[in-house]
Each structure stands twice: as structure tokens, then as C-alpha cells.
Symmetry: C2
Subunit: 347 residues, 2 copies
């Protein structure tokens, strides 16, 4: 990770991205003959790194793979990787010997010695789970051709936490549900998700708040079903249903509360374009409303790519990067955030 | 009062109006031989009206005096007169026989059968108490030449409430003190005012809140001092001192908290220019910040006349007038208010 982090390119055209910001497939794998990461000795952890590094850096896995030794990296760099959803908070803060391998386009990342020896994920804009599942499957096969996974004919892939045993797979979508939030129907969605054994998390996964009306929805059961069954249910039934709920809520808001809706989205854009001090939480909330306004056609002249980018750029790690890596006081952070947002959203 | 209320003309050039919105001199007078208004019978009250009407409508008093019989007027019209500071809340809501005489330019108004038989006032933009005191003195003399005031050689002018006995005069200024409010020094000003026997009230006088950081400051003692002494103290000492405090506070804010100050004033203007729903209190607060920004030169391109006008136009009575006199629901009021503000402040 250098000081010249790549900014994601246009996501405006990604499928269903009026409601689905991004989607992700993650697989948990362990190497046979080693203790799970939390039980492994430092020597064993190092051995896992040595074993997997050449495999993950191979061109067979993806173009331009790089290896980031997290024990050699700075807190700032780990913060950036976390904000970009390339490593988990757990891996960022872990004391173990650990690393992450990242593809040149940042779509693929493989965490080494997180909860499992390998946690590989592909992240893509919009809703295209089937495509990225195919890609990750290929990556998985290529790794498996060179390392020996812990696998039980009866249970499937063995993982450190029983909830991942079986397929070890997790599908997740980052959904933007501002209308369901405004109409207070988000709690119904939460309850329905729970009944379907889905997890609903915030913008930064486990334990994080639903900043900016973003909800990460993922499957929790990985045992006793095939990957294809899980994918089909997620791709064909669950996510389309939530997309439809959000569309309905947007329609109802537009029909019954147009002034309230317009008031919120126009104020949001104006504040973002004029504030001189801006907190992260407020920025996310306002960007969320602008995103809603732009996708529903009620706000004209908004650069949606800039909005998407800003959800990342307003995070503290990225702000510091923009400020040349300087340590910023809380007030300077708020000022820098406001300046960047004003620049990017200038009409 | 017709449905075509005149909007005050340019006040931008009035003296010291970066801090003093307007000033007012009021005199309380009673007619000899009649009970005070609260003790008068309906017949006596009517007699006061009959007696004073021709006097007050004379061209000697002021150009284009009109007479509004408040017992014949609608609640809406009384609300408009109140919002324009031409009658008090007490007179608007009283059950007595009552009226108000108003000059063509609305600078002079004489309430009949308020707490006293006559409550005459001149209201002017900015800080020009000495001028308007001279004018009101002339009006008072001309009335006195035609009616017999209750006067005691020992006590002076007699009034219904002892606090007004003596000169019966009240000087007041409507001060805009946003910087003293932001720096929390407004309480020190309040305490100092109390020590000087001054009253500090809100935007609509007694019992009203200090909406939009406006504070009405007036003398409370009218006994044992001449009008000229009271005026000199008010004009030369008290008000200039508060103006100076506010100027200091603005300077300190600009030096020590420029980002906070700029954030507030730029957000305020942007919200006023974009909101689709706007409450009265929020509108006053935001207009106050824009006024501060414009007078301190930090906000460019703001039409200050429009801002001054909007403090009046955002009041419920004036909004209804703008909407053709229709009865508006609370939401319609907020919508109409936002529309008018957006129009008037369009960049």
C-alpha cells in the first residue's frame, strides 16, 4: 500500500447499483497439517505465510498480485486497507504473523492468518454475485492445486469457527436502503433476514453501525447446502426481494411525502457543497441522501461517481492520505473532509 | 390592513444596522377624566375611540394616517399587524373596544385602549433614536394640543401601570447579537443590562424568545428622570457599549474560530437556498447567521434587503398573506416558507 492509493473507477453502470453498492464472495480455507490460526505458534504462522506467498503471487491467481506483510506495515496503511474493505478489522489489529495478497485492481484479496489460514474474497460494484462467485471458484481451484486444504468428506471444508464449516463460503451484498430506513420498515427487513438466517451488519461489517443507510447482508449457514444452492437463493430470491422492498419504499415516499423527501435530499447536497467542517458520520448520512436523490432522478447534476468515491474518501485513513499522510487533529480532519467533499461535488 | 401589505423598503443603509436592526420610541398617555383602559366601561372605551380618532387621523400627526378598528378586523389582519410590530400581542387579543392608527409609511402607530388609552410609537431601521424621539415628541405635542392628558405636576404623566408613570417613555432597540450568543457572552450582557435596569426581551417583546439572536433592549425606569436624560444614556452609553461588545465578539470569532464561523454561515445560506420545508424558528436562526455572514463580509452575493424582509415574510401571518390568505396546514406553512425563502435568496 503506497501513498498513491488507486481510487475505484466508475461504478455508475454496475447492475442494480441504485440499491446494491457492492457485492462480495468470501471463502474460508485452511491448510492441512497446521493448527488453526488462533492456535498456531509463531513459527507455524510464519510457515503458512512462507507456503502461501508464492502461490498467491502467481499470475495464475490474478494480474499484478501484491503481498503486504502486515507486521511490517504502519497503522496508517492497515487503516487504509481496512477502509477499502481489503482486510478485516480483526486482521488489521491482530498480533499474529499475518499478510494480505491483493490483485492489481483490488477486486481480489486473500488474507493470510486471519481467523482461517486463508480468507479470500472478491469484491465488485453493484449486484453480480454469480460472476464473482465463478471467478473466486477459479482462484480457489488454482490455490487448491498447489496447497493441501483441510477437508473432511463428511463435513466439507474445515474452518476455525463452526459456522463456516462446510462450504466455507459467504455471499454478501452492501445494500443502500435509505427509503426503508425513512419509512421505518428497515426493522421488518431485519426480522425477515433473521428468520432466513441472514446476518445484517453495518458498513464495516461485524459490530459496525449502519452508517449512511448501508446494510451488509450475508448468509450465515454454510453447512449442509451446496455453494450453488446458497448462491441461487441469495442471488435469485433474497436480494431481489430486498431490492423490490426498497423500490416500493422509494415509490411510496415519492407519492406520499415528496416535500419531505425533496427537502432532505436538496438540503443534503447543499450542505455537502457548503460545509466548512464535516464529521464522518454526518458526511455518510448526507452522501446517502444525495445518492438516493440522484438515483431517483430528483437531484440533477450530481456526479454519482464522485459520490461513490466520497464514501471512501471521507474515511479518516483516506483523509490523512489526501493530506499527505500528516497526522490531523479532529478539527483538521473535519476541515479536510469538508474541503474534499466541496471540491468533488462542486456544481 | 389590506391583503396588499407594503414590504419595508431598503434598510441596508440605516445607521449601525450591522448590529441594530431597528429602534423604537414609545410613549404611554391617558386622557384626563376617564378610567384607565382596563377599568373603563365599554361606553367609556368607545368614547375614547370617538375622541381620539379625528385627532389621530389629522394630517398634522403624519401623512396618510389610517384607522383600523380592531373589533371589526379579522384575526388574520391582527396577526399581520402584530408581526409588523404595529400592535402588541395584548392589543391583538384584547376583548375591549380598541383600535390602532397607523401612518402611511407604517413608521408611526398609535394603539388606542391598550394598557393605556394611547400608546404611540415610532419604529425606524437601524440606530437613530434621537431622530425618532424628536419626531414622536412633535406627534405627542400635537395630540396634547387637542386632548387633555392625565398629568400630575408631582408624578408626571399618569399611566395604568406604575412602571410607566413619569415620562411614560420607553426607548428600545432590536439588537442582532449572534456573536455574543455564539461566544456565550450574551448572559453577561443580560446581567449587565439587569444592573442598569434595562429589560432584555425577544423578537416579539415581552415573554417572547430571542428568535434569530435578536434581543430587544429597553429602559424600564421612567420616573424621576427626564426624557432627555434617559435618551442620552441609552443613545450615547448603553447601546454603543453593546454594539462594541458584539463587534469584539465578531472579531474574536473570526480570529479564533474562523472555520466554525464559516461553516455555520455557509451552511445557513445553502440550507435557506435549498430547503423544501422550513420551520419559523429554524428560518430565523439561519437568516440570523446569513445576516452575520453578510455584514462581516464573509458571505458574498447576499441581498441584505431580502434577508431583512424575510425576517418578516417567514412569520405565519405574512406567509398566509403571500398564499392569497388561504388557511395553511402546518406542513403547507413550512412548504410555503421554504419556497418564498428560496425565491428571495436565489443566487
Amino acid at each position: 500500500m503506497t501513498a498513491h492509493a488507486r481510487i475505484p473507477s466508475s461504478k455508475e453502470q454496475a447492475p442494480h447499483n441504485d440499491v446494491v453498492l457492492s457485492c462480495r464472495v468470501r471463502m474460508a480455507r485452511n491448510i492441512a497439517g497446521f493448527s488453526f490460526a488462533n492456535r498456531a505458534s509463531p513459527a507455524q504462522s510464519q510457515e503458512i505465510l512462507n507456503l502461501t506467498k508464492p502461490v498467491l503471487l502467481s499470475n495464475e491467481i490474478a494480474q499484478g498480485m501484491i503481498w503486504v506483510d502486515l507486521n511490517q506495515s504502519t497503522v496508517k496503511d492497515r487503516r487504509l486497507l481496512f477502509e477499502r474493505h481489503l482486510i478485516s478489522k480483526h486482521l488489521a489489529e491482530s498480533e499474529h504473523r499475518r499478510a494480505v495478497a491483493i490483485s492489481g485492481d483490488e477486486s481480489l484479496s486473500v488474507m493470510v492468518n486471519e481467523e482461517d489460514h486463508l480468507r479470500m474474497q472478491i469484491l465488485a460494484p453493484g449486484f453480480q454475485l454469480a460472476d464473482i462467485y465463478q471467478r473466486l471458484n477459479t482462484v480457489d481451484d488454482r490455490i487448491e492445486s498447489r496447497v493441501d486444504y483441510s477437508f473432511s468428506p463428511r463435513w466439507g471444508y474445515l474452518t476455525a469457527c463452526p459456522t463456516n464449516v462446510g462450504t466455507g463460503i459467504r455471499f454478501s451484498v452492501m445494500m443502500h436502503l435509505p427509503a426503508l430506513k425513512m419509512t421505518n420498515e428497515i426493522e421488518r427487513v431485519r426480522r425477515a433476514a433473521k428468520d432466513l438466517h441472514l446476518a445484517v451488519r453495518g458498513y464495516y461489517g461485524e459490530g459496525s453501525e449502519s452508517a449512511g443507510d448501508f446494510y451488509q447482508i450475508s448468509n450465515q449457514v454454510t453447512l449442509g447446502r451446496t455453494e450453488e444452492e446458497l448462491l441461487a437463493e441469495f442471488q435469485e430470491v433474497i436480494v431481489p426481494q430486498i431490492i423490490q422492498y426498497e423500490h416500493q419504499a422509494r415509490k411510496i415516499l415519492a407519492e406520499r411525502s415528496a416535500p419531505v423527501l425533496d427537502d432532505r435530499i436538496h438540503r443534503a447536497l447543499s450542505i455537502l457543497r457548503s460545509a466548512r467542517l464535516l464529521g464522518a458520520e454526518e458526511a455518510m448520512k448526507l452522501l446517502s441522501r444525495v445518492r438516493l436523490g440522484a438515483y431517483t432522478g430528483r437531484l440533477k447534476g450530481v456526479n454519482l461517481d464522485a459520490v461513490t468515491e466520497l464514501f471512501l474518501l471521507v474515511q479518516p485513513g483516506h483523509l490523512k492520505l489526501q493530506a499527505g499522510g500528516a497526522d490531523l487533529s479532529p478539527e483538521e480532519l473535519r476541515e479536510t473532509r469538508a474541503n474534499i467533499v466541496r471540491q468533488r461535488l462542486a456544481s
